[in-house]
């Protein structure tokens, strides 16, 4: 059924259709509307057979999810930014124990400086935590990925993060096709745990493992993610046959067949990139042969699929909403591994940090430079060099320059954070 609703609402309704049995939640922007909506559904009894647990922190949220999942319940939570960081110890335990929790990450920057806006720093900080990470391009895909995530998580007994751009998607009203309960039931079978705390068949979960078997247990987690590389495209195909939509999978390509230059990105910025690429391909704009590769599955990282998508291009640009301080790109590092030996020119572009708008205008200028191979290996899109250099000069000139964030805000002429 077509609906014009907020992304958060769409995700909450999709999660409810997945018949979760335990939802534990601690609110943090921009995830709040999702768990609020689910809380209302439980209270109004439109979502039944589900326990909604208000917890005292994100650490508690993941801990409760672990307990619930180990007891055999289909478990869900959501978080973002500092909330994700606060639950990290439990995040690693959930994956290390092989518990199929599904969590929405409404992607948001990490402080300091304090910033509530969107980028991918939060979930990418958990790159190596052992969770599968799927990135949604639209609210439709966010909704669809949650349904796929429960199935994937439970089949493999491994937790899945569904990552959607905070505010840009969570707070956007757009058209979504909401599936029926019958469709979701046909796709997603009841949860059958591989391990469960059952008083009739007692087990303990969470043994201490020494050097004799630790590597093997960890290798098995890796092997499961390699299995996920095979299952994710299959689940997307099965999803398409039930719901009639091409959502999920490892990657999405767009106009790459004849492209000399391919732009690689994750999440909602892919829409703006596609519009930019369409315009640049017009004969009156130079008829540039440029295409787009969207990465849906960030973990496991689809090395072979990425290499295959890039096999006919000459150069690629990885545009990422994240920064590995001290080297540059995070996603770009993985892409470079995928194309090892292919002789391609690759450029890393850090963009959209802390909610900075990524515009068609800036992207067009950037891609034109990339096509001329006139880009640095790492570029910061729309960086205010004047403000940066002013601070660098200040720091050269004297010792007591004070806090950086406050100095920059003064230089750009605002007393507090400005969003428009």
């Amino acid at each position: 059924m077509l609906k014009q609703i907020e992304g958060s609402r769409a995700v909450a309704e999709a999660v409810a259709l997945c018949r979760p049995e335990v939802i534990c939640a601690y609110p943090i922007s921009p995830q709040t509307h999702i768990v609020e909506a689910l809380g209302e559904m439980v209270k109004e009894e439109t979502l039944t057979d589900c326990e909604y647990i208000n917890v005292e922190s994100e650490f508690a949220a993941m801990s409760v999810a672990i307990g619930a999942s180990a007891a055999g319940a289909r478990s869900y939570t959501a978080t973002a930014s500092q909330g994700l960081l606060f639950m990290v110890e439990a995040v690693y335990n959930a994956s290390g124990l092989g518990l199929p929790i599904v969590m929405t990450v409404a992607n948001r920057a990490i402080g300091a400086p304090i910033n509530i806006w969107n980028d991918h720093s939060d979930s990418l900080s958990q790159r190596d935590c052992g969770w599968i990470q799927l990135f949604a391009e639209t609210n439709q895909e966010a909704l669809d990925l949650h349904i796929q995530a429960f199935k994937l998580a439970e089949e493999l007994s491994m937790p899945v993060m569904v990552c959607m751009d905070g505010f840009i998607l969570t707070h956007a009203y757009e058209r979504v096709d909401m599936p029926t309960q019958e469709q979701v039931d046909a796709y997603l079978p009841p949860y059958e745990p591989r391990q469960v705390l059952d008083p009739n068949e007692p087990v303990s979960i969470g043994a201490m493992v020494g050097p004799e078997a630790f590597t093997e247990v960890r290798y098995l987690a890796h092997a499961k993610q390699m299995q996920a590389l095979e299952r994710i495209p299959q689940l997307a195909t099965e999803f398409n046959s039930v719901f009639g939509r091409d959502s999920g999978g490892l990657i999405h390509t767009y106009r790459t067949e004849d492209a000399d230059t391919i732009v690689i990105a994750m999440g909602s910025v892919l829409g703006t990139i596609k519009d930019t690429v369409d315009a640049m391909r017009l004969p009156e704009n130079g008829g540039h042969r440029i295409g787009v590769l969207g990465i849906t599955s960030y973990r496991p990282f689809p090395l072979a699929a990425v290499a295959d998508a890039l096999k006919n291009c000459k150069r690629f640009v990885v545009l990422e909403k994240s920064l590995a301080v001290g080297i540059g790109g995070i996603v770009a590092t993985d892409v470079r591994m995928a194309v090892t030996g292919m002789g391609l020119k690759g450029f890393t572009v850090v963009a959209g940090l802390g909610g900075r708008a990524i515009t068609v205008k800036s992207l067009t200028a950037l891609f034109e430079k990339a096509m001329r191979e006139n880009l640095d290996l790492v570029t910061f899109l729309d960086l205010d060099w004047k403000a940066v250099n002013k601070q660098l000069e200040r720091e050269k000139a004297r010792r007591r320059t004070g806090p950086v964030a406050e100095a920059l805000l003064r230089d750009v002429g605002v007393v507090g954070a400005r969003n428009y």
Binding site: I168, A357, N419
Partner: protein
């Protein structure tokens, strides 16, 4: 694609207006995308929200920098925020005020704009009259339907019923309808 930017203050229902406009467009079978300028919401602080309307899927996620239309929910913003930034010369402007463009000191600014696309409506008064609260967002949507012709009043009413129920819905429908009629009458008077 038609792009609308709505300016107001926290508490005036700026974000709700953009969302409801998108619902009204959806009711007409069109694609629509509404989103706020994200930030720490505070009552009284300047707030911006956006709505795109198109016949095909909307993929663009940048803020609206070159709007086809502006809805200004609070005229005190005129001297605080560059509300007109990027407005197309043939763009629409609807301001919530009981003053004229001249009285607001905008006579010179709007000289280069198409007069029939510039309207004011006293939406706060209409909201007080029909809803009992000074929330101008919904009556402005009625006025916007009249000045722009981009959406129909009946779609705005559907969006109101989608969002509100009972007395609040009834009051907002009455306020939006009256705003629509006022703006439409002004337009007809201008044509005559």
């Amino acid at each position: 694609m038609f792009q609308v930017r709505i300016h107001g203050r926290g508490g005036q229902g700026v974000v709700t207006a953009a969302e409801m406009l998108s619902v009204a467009a959806f009711e007409e079978g069109r694609h629509a995308q509404a989103f706020p300028s994200f930030g720490s919401e505070r009552t009284g602080a300047p707030v911006v929200a956006f709505c795109r309307i198109a016949d095909t899927e909307i993929r663009l996620r940048e803020p609206i920098m070159v709007p086809d239309a502006l809805i200004i929910q609070d005229p005190t913003l005129l001297h605080q925020v560059d509300v007109f930034a990027g407005l197309r010369p043939d763009g629409y402007i609807l301001i919530n005020t009981n003053k004229s463009f001249e009285e607001l000191g905008l006579a010179d600014f709007v000289k280069s704009h198409r007069a029939e696309r510039l309207r004011t409506v006293s939406a706060t008064d209409l909201a007080l009259k029909h809803v009992g609260r000074p929330v101008p967002n919904v009556p402005l949507l009625g006025g916007f339907a009249a000045v722009s012709g981009i959406i129909r009043l009946e779609s705005v009413i559907k969006a109101i019923n989608d969002r509100f129920s009972g007395k609040v819905a009834e009051g907002n429908i009455a306020a939006a309808t009256e705003a629509y009629k006022i703006v439409q009458m002004e337009m007809e008077a201008a044509h005559a």
